[in-house]
Symmetry: D2
Subunit: 308 residues, 4 copies
């Protein structure tokens, strides 16, 4: 089974978890969704992240989803979110999913880490617990976690914990963080892979500054695949043209809390999943929002046609 | 099996979870600890709260602890903390422990509840999920949860959700909250039981204002039993004398984050549990703190003797 | 002097405060900036908001800026941000600027308001302090203030405090908040003006849902003027075409903390202000960001030309 | 005029600001209060701190209070709180009060400092702004400021900013922070004065661990003076006896938000200030709380008599 490593690149789609309208997991839609991501050109998927409604799962549901998606993905890498309030649950789920063939685990910092030494100490404990053989993705998403990871402490974490192979970068503003990491690497710091989140809202700039790709869940993963490929190929103008065509919808999807319902509406509208249902306390998109999304998609299709 | 109800009174000790030095659960100490609480006069125990290191347990460990303590407690009530990031896990654990014979479940609000309607909505969802037969304790502990529950929204929750039978009161400052609830009940609001936390730091005033007792984890539960009994019996002076004798240690134990290590040191020193070990990211008490605690205990014993 | 009222509409630009490179106020640039906003079609300006670096001013500087801009604006309305840690300073500044001819004052909630009753109580105190004759803009910007104002408490504030004439709307996500206010008005609630912030990121949808315009500080105020006018005229397609042309830059400017430096860079590049200097602890835009902004502006101009 | 320095010791009382019932400053009570602090044995006073209701003052009121207290104190040191949302106001007030003869200024970190480098950077800017001749007290009070200052960043601040002469220590739990600073000094770190806050709740332990005294506002400053003196003289038992006699009231006063009203009630009851009035949004103590305070004071007097 493939593992992520410090040079992993491309697009890992943050997978949604499809539910039936009654809240039960829709396994058929989950298969179709997994297939769809790879058909759209994804290099991997990341499951049980925040957008995968991980905290709303029981432990056995989480393991079941991991088993299903890893099997379906075949030899393509699947990263699994294992963030948990305590280390025991985090360790247990990590070992379970690695045994199932996961490519690595993703860990966001708990909200109680309010100093740089506590942040460093937490990841030291996680890495010690998981041992040297489980690759770890550090999720740096302060808007949601409330934990601000400074450039300085991030550099210390990279230096001290070799099993952290990848940064899921979604600090905001965060462009200079990418530049600083790449500059530090040019000066001798160990390389890590950087895949960017934040709904893709800064993807052209991020890749141009040295990110290796995207790890987020926009409803049209094809956009992320093309923009990442084109910027890397030096075709920044064309990349930005395509990005701009999707941007009105990217912006709309980036609304915190609401983003998941929008994304599921888009995926259901595209026929990839059967129902846009989200588990409580989430709810469905209201009619006004649906109309706005549909209008944006119609414009997006027209604009993409113009671009050829 | 006894269930908690809107008139439950007395002292429910927030139970620690004893570990071996290597972090494994120490089942023998857990039995001894459970016995010890009842020998000290407790009316019930509450397990898997924050002080029980609940977030550091795996799901199966949590169920195992609940089974053990409920069995050991015999026909005495055991409340189980079931707070979880999502409703699915909360519901699953609640049903498991109620089947084992728990007296009720305790639910703290997740930190994302930043408006009164969201707080109300969350408890509405919890109560709908659990159904009318599972008694719920609402844990109101803003210092830890970051969720401030106003008098107004608390009154609406009490009015709308009959399965909430008890308030674990640890708002700070919070004395007027007790007075307002009892005044509202005098004016017709449904009664609920109020047991107070906050390490017992305001216990005489709380009971004098109408609280039904304590639900917290001070290392000498006997203090809570006596103070509660004496205030209810109108002997406020004697109650305060005893309280004051313990107060230097209560104050010391109330240090957030550190309190658990102090409490376990006290329990181990008293011979109730074998080891003061706490799970990571917690750590042992350092030598200076141990010396301070030991000095306070020596003074406490002397003062209690003086009081007779 | 004109006062804002419950039907005020159009675009109030959140004004920057220009500084010389040494941090002193650049009065000439301030005049030019004020003129420029009105030349771009603004209906009013709002000074001493967060983007005006208000907290970095001394009290006398704040009064000086208000005097200068109000004089320069002539008979056009100037709203003044008066948020302060305490009511005494807030009241003093409010009276000063109203005497100078301000059109109203803007008040953001202090971060300590962590329950709905406290939020309501705070605005009640502010309105009582200011009296019935000073029109108040309620700034609802949770990302920055950390205070989440629910639809319910907002409705109570509107009902109870007639001097609140306008909502500076920048809750995020916040589109449904606009729809709910307009629906409540259709059902009899007092009307208030709604001008939207958030860097204009959702302006077409906001106006379509009933907002009266914009109150934010994007570097090209013309965009806000045109989009607002076109949506109100029913030309949503054309409005969105123009909006989309600016969107890559709007998105870039919306980076919290960094937005002010970007905006000042744009204003300086446009020749409106002499220097992009921001006061400490802010700093200048780095070279990489400047290049990104310049590239976006070049594309923006080309796209606007294509649109005609 | 005396300045604070790195060996300043003793008790600096955090002064309340007395108001008339209508909210106007009560200058006569302010004089009496200042005198009373020194009569009780204080070595200095600290004005315009949080407990001095500083944020509720206008800038001119703040300067007026500073002038009055500094004049009244004669050659005894007066520290002035100058925390402000921005550096310009902080600098202006600092220069004003130093010209008036203040002994130093106290600066708490603004709530936006969410990483160690930001905390360090903020104090670097403050010290650069104030220059080498104004002694600075760093107020470390996370419960109120929401800024957690780690041992590591505090050590860097002490090393890099020689004008920081004193730590107002009120981290909680914070005893080990004192021990670590003193240990670092034994290993060569520059010495700073440590005066402790937190309503005095841990004063015996703090001084025993190396603190130089107290800087807080308990209603009976004599307690702080005696406990500090006795612990330093090695009479820890006698110190703790006296401390314990006051502890029930200290505990009651330490309720956040409510503490100020309690303290003013005590001061008014003692006849030191004319009215317990606090400025809005604060309010008076309710009848139940007053009765509780009065009961505690009666017991305190009795216990002190027993102790002789």
């Amino acid at each position: 089974m493939p593992l992520i490593h410090e040079k992993t690149e491309g697009v890992f789609v943050i997978s949604a978890t499809p539910f039936h309208p009654d809240g039960a997991i829709d396994w058929e839609s989950l298969d179709r969704l997994t297939d769809s991501y790879f058909e759209d050109g994804a290099d991997g998927v990341t499951i049980l992240g925040m957008m995968g409604e991980a905290p709303k799962m029981t432990q056995s549901e989480a393991a079941g989803i991991a088993a299903r998606v890893i099997a379906r993905a075949g030899n393509r890498p699947v990263v699994v979110g294992v963030s948990a309030p305590g280390l025991a649950a985090l360790g247990e789920l990590s070992r379970t999913v690695m045994d199932l063939g996961a490519a690595g685990v993703m860990v966001a910092p708990p909200g109680s880490l309010n100093t740089d030494p506590k942040i460093h100490g937490y990841y030291a404990q996680v890495c010690e617990l998981l041992g040297p053989d489980i690759p770890v993705v550090l999720q740096d998403f302060p808007l949601s976690t409330k934990v601000q990871i400074s450039d300085e402490v991030l550099a210390r974490i990279i230096a001290d914990m070799p099993s952290i192979k990848m940064l899921k970068h979604e600090d905001w503003p965060g462009l200079s963080k990418i530049s600083k990491i790449r500059a530090a690497e040019a000066a001798g710091q160990r390389r890590i892979s950087i895949l960017c989140g934040n709904a893709g809202l800064f993807l052209p700039e991020e890749v141009a500054r040295g990110a290796d790709g995207a790890m987020t869940g926009f409803g049209y993963p094809k956009m992320m695949v093309e923009v990442t490929r084109l910027v890397k190929a030096g075709e920044i103008g064309r990349a930005q043209d395509i990005f701009d065509a999707y941007l009105p919808l990217i912006r709309y999807e980036s609304q915190p809390g609401l983003g998941l319902s929008i994304r599921k509406h888009v995926l259901a509208r595209r026929g990839v999943i059967a129902s846009p249902a989200v588990r409580k306390p989430g709810g469905p998109l209201d009619a006004a929002a649906m109309a706005e999304v549909d209008r944006l998609i119609a414009r997006q299709e027209k604009r993409l046609e113009e671009l050829g």
